[in-house]
Symmetry: D2
Subunit: 361 residues, 4 copies
């Protein structure tokens, strides 16, 4: 099927562009009888919202969601849930240049190659603006997961440039810790350094990359479907659907390359017949199926492609030119990436929660 | 849908266990009129085959495929293609221990948690034996890609333990270079070191991890579907469906975390109106859509979980015990991983080739 | 996947209830560069609209669509198209009875059995109100089909009660003929009789069934996918998704039961190497694949379940009671069914148009 | 996705041609722990088998299935089940004519139009031979349905030519009654007449059509997914995937056209809070969701297209010619159609059984 749907049983379908009238998501598969209102959606939307702090883009959007269907008398009905978020601060005039010039690192050229025609206002459908409704859908998925299984999902910034946070126990990080600073890093000292670096980078009309870590606790053992819909496969896909993600890893991740089996294997242990592992280098999945241990993944997020610094490029006719992106952009994508990644993890887990119910009844 | 299918228009569905009668794949969506025979399948199957060299498992399998349908008078008919590969060297007695004990790093426990019942012979469906038919299907996908677009896919071992190959231009690596040594590394000097390390690790009854790099050249700009079926998302999922993969990255990958936008952006250039980029940190995809540059990805592959060294574990009832895996296993998964990863990349690209045809006619 | 999406490459996903804020559809897979505006949608919406004539329900809805995405400067962009239609005349008070009583012939009981909870206002998601956005999506599909292949789709009422229209050549019926009377029957004489019958039935506080015929001309030979996505299978499913449809048949339909092969087979003929059949008992599909002849199908539509006549029923607790539906309902569903059936046929054909492009390039 | 898969959670994927080496099905989604062996498959395969009686084709096929995967120690493992059935009596020489001539009523022309290339041996993939493995998969689905819910599915021949069986209570028909004669009609008197008619038709080198009725009892209320995967929609699609089906109807079916709402509505009643309807004109589904009443559907099956009588036709180059099909064909498809239709109903119900489990847990 086309590319604007994600998930099998808990399924989202989205539409909308950066500078069109609105973004909308239809969520299909949410079980009936779960309390749901816009109050469940707004907090994560606020965490994703532009203009939330001095280190994010200054585009102004209230991102107030309207639930159009699927909820009756405060509870889900089991039918499809549509959520609408209108765009407000569009300022298309900022983007005139993109019409003819391909921005380095952006999808301008590839969209043209694909469709032969594109909405160039603010990147159109390639803009991260489309993730607004994903975050709303993620909040619905979180509600499902927490109501049915007590699952909690927390993401945070692990690295900005060369500054790496010290997070001794990923599964112990709380939402409160994450939200205690504008970079969303639970290591307060490193958070200050990250913020300072981002401000410096912005003052230099540039941008900077980083990594985020996302953790789910409370996921029971047994979620994930052999052999192609392994939980690690669906989570991996989910993360790579997010703009700017160049790498995804679980547990020890790329570090496994230098380990021996005897070092890498997590040893099983049991307490009153509850089986777990003593360590979690496997990141909560074995054979792609959840093990009951915390799911831990990391994403590499590239530096924002749009920078005020002038860069060489070509026009759509292949003529050499230069471009300096004057729109409002984030000097570092990480703080606003965190709720996006949490949302996508929640959507995948909600899907596999339902799939496991179908399998085991 | 359930987890044994992959792809939208070029779609594979597989069945089979490590020690059952056979593995089978049904390939749906292959266009009509493309020449195809078992001779197209055998070379990659031989590259994946156990027992191919002194550094792989010694299980003996001819892995001779039988094409059951979809080919008539030497050409594909457009209808579904079934390929059957029977298991021969099963030796189930080797695996008696697994019935009651959970092997560290394996899916024994998670399959039990999922299904409440499992085929414990050699890991059943969680064994990498199921990738046999994926490799056969990948060969079909390669045929499609090469026939319609001249696409070539080459993978190789980039790293084993701390030994990292020097590969100046990933897109220039040839199949001949890769196949010139048993570790499948185009850097001959590092290849020797890798082989020596693997022999040492095996003599110590242990295993070792590594990374593989896979490159596709000739992919035209425009493949990939916004926003959830981005090429990077589908390739990422494909790689994570393979056993033992703990990380996937494109182009500069996790290295992007320390780069600035001005350093990371690849600059567009044009020759006679053909647009490309001067560098390829983006790994051949922008906005998740192919840019026409080589697609470059890397996978982190953990050390084989099954090791002859004795390790502590628990029984299915939670009682402490120890286990030493006496089956025939690879001391390093990387050399046989290469054709598997190539196959999955080919399957994803074949799928998006057809999807782009549907979009643009 | 869940049940609110339809189609593979041209795909619609819908949400909305009879008395909620709005209905919305996301259309995925529409090719780029095709002119599209609300003016393309309104005519079919007006044909489906309640209150359009004396023989339909008097609920007042303007059914004005808003295109939220996927169209830029008057043309489709290739990305997902969201269309929003707000509900206006909701009068929920009319439906208080349904909360506790199961209406005969309705989905009240089955929704309760399914979800354990339901939106009882006007039938919620089981109401034909959800077809509003299907008709909008169908208009988009018609645009695709007509732009790319000159396909035309025309439906009409074939039968109401025992009155059967005489339609010598289904493929020759024009939209103008159909729209020349309020029952949408191209046989003017029988149309008058049908209208009189419906008025009589309504005066008796009852309803009446009928059949509709839908015809597509201009469909090239070769659409439809063996063996499960035959065109007849997907069209059949599409029609049965519409409320109140109890039967679907093609060409000679159930009449084939009494025919011999020598009577039923349509004989091939050729003019300047263009192959067709002399008759069309096969309804335009052979082996489930379009033959190039007009596609002709008929749907049986049951009499409206909601009738003002008092009927016995039970409450949700199983207690005997009676019910007389006082809401605003159609005494005969057929005239408003015609644009719904056309829309679903258009959506299926648009899907298979794209699927054939993927197959043949 | 391509057309050789059917179902969402209980999903079958098939491959194979009439005169190729074998047919194969992969069944995905079967829950773990259900007893299954070839003995569960053979009875329905024998009912579908050619050469079973004097009124069927005399092609000789043992149709012995081999289970390749997904079953361990006599029970399903939850992983994909592959079933292989080899073709034995192929006699390709019988079909030489088809290579150049289009058989009236067959898919020869439409396959050529679709693919530009086809396997002409016995119709290749368009032959009903592909239903062999569907029947095997249907037997698996029946096992699931009976084990989990006690559902029983029985089909029978309702009509051949103008001879219509008298079946006072479709839900009371037993498999034993159906299998008591070679035409599979529970009305013994009419069965004899049907058999005599078929023998007469065959002696005249012709064929004859008919209808079959299929009934499922024990289906709980609540199966089916609004709005596109209504049970009636998925069952309708399933039946239309079968070769030669030109019409499908439920309950009162096309008869609803002449009924009034007050006549057609089935009245709800309750016994000890168990709710049902007094009559079953609705055929067991309301709003497309099962009501708990027996599901009753009828299919119209056209007369076999292949007849020994000489008919005019054209060659693939459009030249006029004649054809007399000399292969071995059924003079009436109905007796062998019954197990095919039962199988497809079972597959749909198994799918919705699992989907409802996902919804309600």
């Amino acid at each position: 099927m086309p590319g604007n749907s994600f998930g099998q049983l808990f399924r989202i379908t989205t539409a909308g562009e950066s500078h069109g009238p609105a973004n909308v998501v239809i969520i299909d598969g949410m079980p009936a009888g779960i309390p749901l209102s816009v109050d469940d959606l707004q907090p994560d939307l606020d965490r994703r919202r532009p203009g939330q702090s001095k280190i994010t883009t200054q585009r102004k959007e209230a991102d107030t969601p309207e639930i159009l269907s699927g909820v009756f008398e405060g509870k889900t009905t089991g039918t499809s849930i549509a959520i609408l978020i209108r765009n407000e601060d569009q300022r298309s005039k900022d983007y005139g240049d993109i019409k003819e010039k391909y921005r380095p690192g952006h999808a301008d050229y590839t969209f043209d190659a694909k469709y032969g025609f594109r909405d160039y206002r603010g990147g159109g459908r390639s803009s991260a603006r489309e993730t607004t409704v994903r975050v709303a859908a993620g909040a619905v998925a979180k509600k499902l997961l927490h109501t049915l299984h007590g699952v909690r999902i927390v993401g945070y910034v692990k690295q900005v440039g060369a500054i790496v946070a010290d997070v001794p126990d990923p599964a112990a990080v709380t939402l409160e810790q994450v939200e205690s600073n504008i970079i969303r890093c639970p290591d307060a000292k490193k958070a200050d350094e990250m913020i300072a670096l981002i401000e410096k980078v912005r003052s230099e009309m540039d941008s900077i990359g980083g990594t985020a870590e996302v953790v789910a606790t409370g996921v029971p053992a047994g979620w994930g479907e052999p052999v192609f819909d392994k939980l690690k496969a669906d989570l991996g896909k989910a993360m790579f659907t997010l703009p700017a993600v160049l790498g995804v890893e679980y547990g020890v991740g790329f570090g496994c390359a230098t380990l021996r089996g005897s070092q890498n294997n997590d040893i099983f242990t049991a307490k009153q017949s509850h089986i777990s592992t003593k360590s979690n280098r496997h990141g909560g999945m074995l054979g792609g199926i959840s093990s009951g241990m915390p799911i831990v993944l990391r994403c590499a997020v590239k530096p924002t492609s749009s920078i005020p610094l002038e860069q060489p490029t070509v026009t759509s006719k292949g003529e050499p030119t230069t471009i300096a992106t004057k729109g409002r952009h984030d000097p570092c994508l990480l703080p606003r990436f965190v709720p996006m990644a949490e949302a996508m993890m929640a959507i995948v887990l909600a899907d596999h929660c339902l799939r496991q119910r179908a399998t085991r009844g």
